[in-house]
């Protein structure tokens, strides 16, 4: 193993986007939101001060899952839903690596739901980017676990009767220590969010609202289009009152006496009455309430970091148990191990 790879002693080479792009032709549908996410990531990597050889992109199945092929790093395109599990084995045995998990709403929340929630609760050092397009793209347009009720697709010709998941609420409920949301129309916001995820020492979950222009075009248009953004996206900023909207018609979030949240006009209540965002709160209750503000991508929707708290990282603790055992018992001796019960000798 190259845990103490000699090369890491030298300075990180200066790189540019092209160094992080593989020679593979990108094969998403023209106009797919995945392109802008890929660009945001490829452009961000040179800024993170990391090495290509210590970076791994891992994915499951779906349109988003093709992502690793386009990154000039180590990578694995695995099987449907299992990427968080595979990444857990990799990240825990190789703490020297940066492991990114690229997933979609079907991959992460349907077939891989179990692996996602457990990776989050364990707090494995992973950057999990979940591209949410509220549809199955690769299999050509069935409804997904984030599709809205009554959605008509090939597999729901009479409308879906499934209540969708809210990915941010789900992650918060799964004890995630870092939960954020961004969208494919805003490169700067994506990069800032991914940067924060990368800095986080633990499992970082980022929902990326992504347009599938072939099977679910415009799913987020009401909130992410250039014209709508100002009045429909609520940027969360740590330590700042939660406020959004164009100048003159600002709105903000207040907390009612019963603890629930409400969107009000700032002019009516004054800036001081607004809820101040605290991503570091130990209690995830407020972050959860924020995640419930919008009932779908047609109401004002918070974006940014909902929650970022410190909790011991899984792989680190796993390694510590080994170091402790070795300090107490010495490096294991196989010959002694075999004699750990009673042994007897025949002469």
């Amino acid at each position: 193993m190259s845990e103490s790879n000699g090369a890491t002693a030298t300075a990180v080479p200066v790189t540019a986007r092209k160094d992080w792009s593989s020679d593979q032709e990108v094969r998403w549908c023209p106009g797919c939101g995945d392109y802008s996410i890929l660009a945001a990531v490829q452009m961000l990597m040179p800024e993170l001060g990391v090495r290509r050889e210590n970076t791994v992109f891992l994915s499951g199945i779906g349109c988003a899952a093709r992502f690793p092929y386009y990154m000039n790093t180590y990578g694995m395109h695995s099987i449907h839903g299992r990427a968080p599990a595979i990444a857990t084995g990799l990240a825990t045995t190789r703490p020297d690596l940066d492991v990114w998990v690229i997933s979609g709403d079907g991959d992460a929340l349907s077939i891989g739901g179990n692996h996602l929630i457990h990776a989050l609760r364990r707090n494995v050092r992973l950057n999990i980017l979940m591209f949410n397009n509220q549809i199955y793209g690769l299999t050509k347009g069935q409804y997904s676990p984030t599709s809205e009720v009554a959605k008509v697709t090939k597999s729901t010709p009479f409308g879906s009767v499934d209540t969708p998941f809210n990915p941010v609420s789900l992650a918060l409920g799964a004890e995630a220590t870092f939960v954020a949301r961004t969208h494919d129309m805003d490169r700067a916001h994506m990069q800032e969010t991914f940067r924060r995820a990368h800095q986080h020492n633990g499992a970082a979950f980022v929902e990326v609202l992504q347009n599938c222009n072939v099977f679910n075009d415009g799913a987020f248009e009401k909130i992410t289009s250039r014209d709508a953004r100002a009045s429909m996206l609520i940027p969360l900023q740590h330590g700042q009152p939660i406020v959004f909207g164009a100048e003159g018609s600002e709105r903000g979030v207040i907390q009612r006496a019963d603890g629930s949240l409400e969107i009000v006009s700032v002019a009516d209540v004054g800036l001081d009455a607004l809820l101040v965002h605290d991503e570091a709160r130990d209690d995830p209750g407020l972050a959860f309430a924020l995640s419930r503000l919008a009932h779908g991508p047609y109401e004002p929707t918070p974006i940014g970091v909902f929650r970022a708290v410190e909790r011991p990282e899984y792989g680190t603790q796993m390694s510590e148990q080994i170091t402790d055992a070795q300090a107490k018992r010495g490096l294991g001796d196989v010959a002694a191990l075999l004699r750990s019960g009673s042994s007897w000798t025949v002469d």
Binding site: E53, S78, R82, T92, T93, I117, A335, W344, V346
Partner: protein, 625 residues
Amino acid sequence: MASGTQHVTEQLDQVIVRFAGDSGDGMQLTGDRFTTSSALLGNDMSTFPDFPAEIRAPAGTLNGVSAFQVHISDHDILTPGDSPNVLVAMNPAALRANIDLMAKGTILLVNSDAFDERNLTKAGYGTNPLTDGSLSPYTVYEVPMTSITQEVCKEAGVKPRDAERSKNFFALGLVSWLYTRPIEPTINWITERFAAKPQVVEANTRAFRAGYDFGETAELFESNYEIRPATFEKGEYVQVTGNQALAWGLIAASRLAGLPIFLGSYPITPASDILHELSRRKEFGIRTFQAEDEIAGIGAALGASFGGAIGVTTTSGPGLDLKSEAIGLAINLELPLVIVDVQRGGPSTGLPTKTEQADLLHAMYGRHGEAPLPILAPKTPSDCFAAAIEATRLAVKYRTPVIVLSDGYLANGAEPWRLPDLDTFEPIDPGFASEPNHVDDEGNPAFWPYVRDPETLARPWAPPGLPGLEHRIGGLEKADGSGNVSYEGVNHERMVHLRRDKIAGIASDIPLAEVNDETGDAQLLLVSWGSTYAAVAAGVKRVRARGMKAAHVHLRHLNPLPSNLGEVLGRYAQILVPEINLGQLSRILRAEYLVDAQTMSKMQGVPFRVGEIEAAITAMLGGKS
């Protein structure tokens, strides 16, 4: 350990004792202790724990009966024995559940205190077998084990209800006297094991001594017995179960390869003990990961393999079902991975605590697409050690998942094991890729993940961390060499052939099949695999002692099969394959070699008895059994 003056100590060459009681009675522990003290005396031994799936089925019922059979002898033995000489029955249910195993004239040691109205009814006895004459064919010793135990514990201030729990130690003491086992090792063990609870140490020790003294003084027994040490090869021995040996083998393999182990596992009977054992051994640099499910267990192991560790996953049949998809991925990625399937009765949940060998075809073919992998099976509990090392060697050398087929009988059974000289195992070279292996169109060095070693057909293993070797792999079909995604038909066929040939080629890297054919002119060949080895080898020995001729070949590698097997099978007019399934290996042999391999099947959750093998051979040879 001198026996009382009124007793004669007789010599026996072997004895089979079966301890049976409620699953809460501690029968496994009792049997295990008896085994250990016998092992320390230098006897050969073989054990067969036989317990229910429920942790505590209703007390006193047939479903709740837990038994432990141990065979000890002064000579080389292979199996836990067909029929016990002594049955220790702690209650009526234990008697009823096991009496059919007992031959006439054998000894029944019963806890007479437990034969009350209630227990008799629960066990389904209309009348008390101790008094109705139905046990007259046996030598019955009625011993009030519960009340004596309570009595001796009372003096130590132990409450009767707590004291009752020590009655298994009374039974152990009594049987220890009967077979002249030393008492010190057991007393030391009690002291250590229950160190945190001095009252329990006191109660168990008193019960144990009381049992021993009872034998000595009660004038119930005319004699006690001695079984001389067996002649073993020189060396140092330990008593080991299959699961323990398997865990240790993985640790040894990790050392031989200089790579850490990552075990991804989900608790499942009868494989969990491997997870437990490895979890205790963190000083060996082992990471154990109790995953959210079977799929995550293998997934994480595969991720660790991608990172350059030895990924291992341990399971039983239901778990193997769930792992199929990830095994297919590992075959496609061509990464090392060790998959241990401790087989149990199926299908579905089946018989969780009972043994079976019915996962062979699953291991061979249980994946979509053409997805071959090496399969091997240990033959005895201690052989699990070497099997784990061999599996790791093949996994690493050929960059492939390997399935080890253990089973419930091997996993929990114990035997003496002469400790191997660790230096005799060859180091396992991970052979990590260290430099680019290709030049791209512009003349720059590049790394291609699917350039193969011409001899082994293995691809390079390049864990992340080296600059210039960045590469992407995945479950999609890939172009040979570059590893780039390819949907091209001719390439796919080529890759299918390559994956097949790589595994088939391992045949040249494993030992030839060795036939045990004493006179060289036997007409009948017995083929065993996995845990059927013991009964088949013992059965062949027996018929030879009766002047019949039978040959025996044991298969450790099930895929690929030894390269000379076709020739070996062709030499015999008759082939018999005893299997704890409906004939899975014989199906493979027929398909592979067009030979008339006959199946001998048994699917009762227990291994073959030697007598059954003996009878089958005799029948095939046209003799009388």
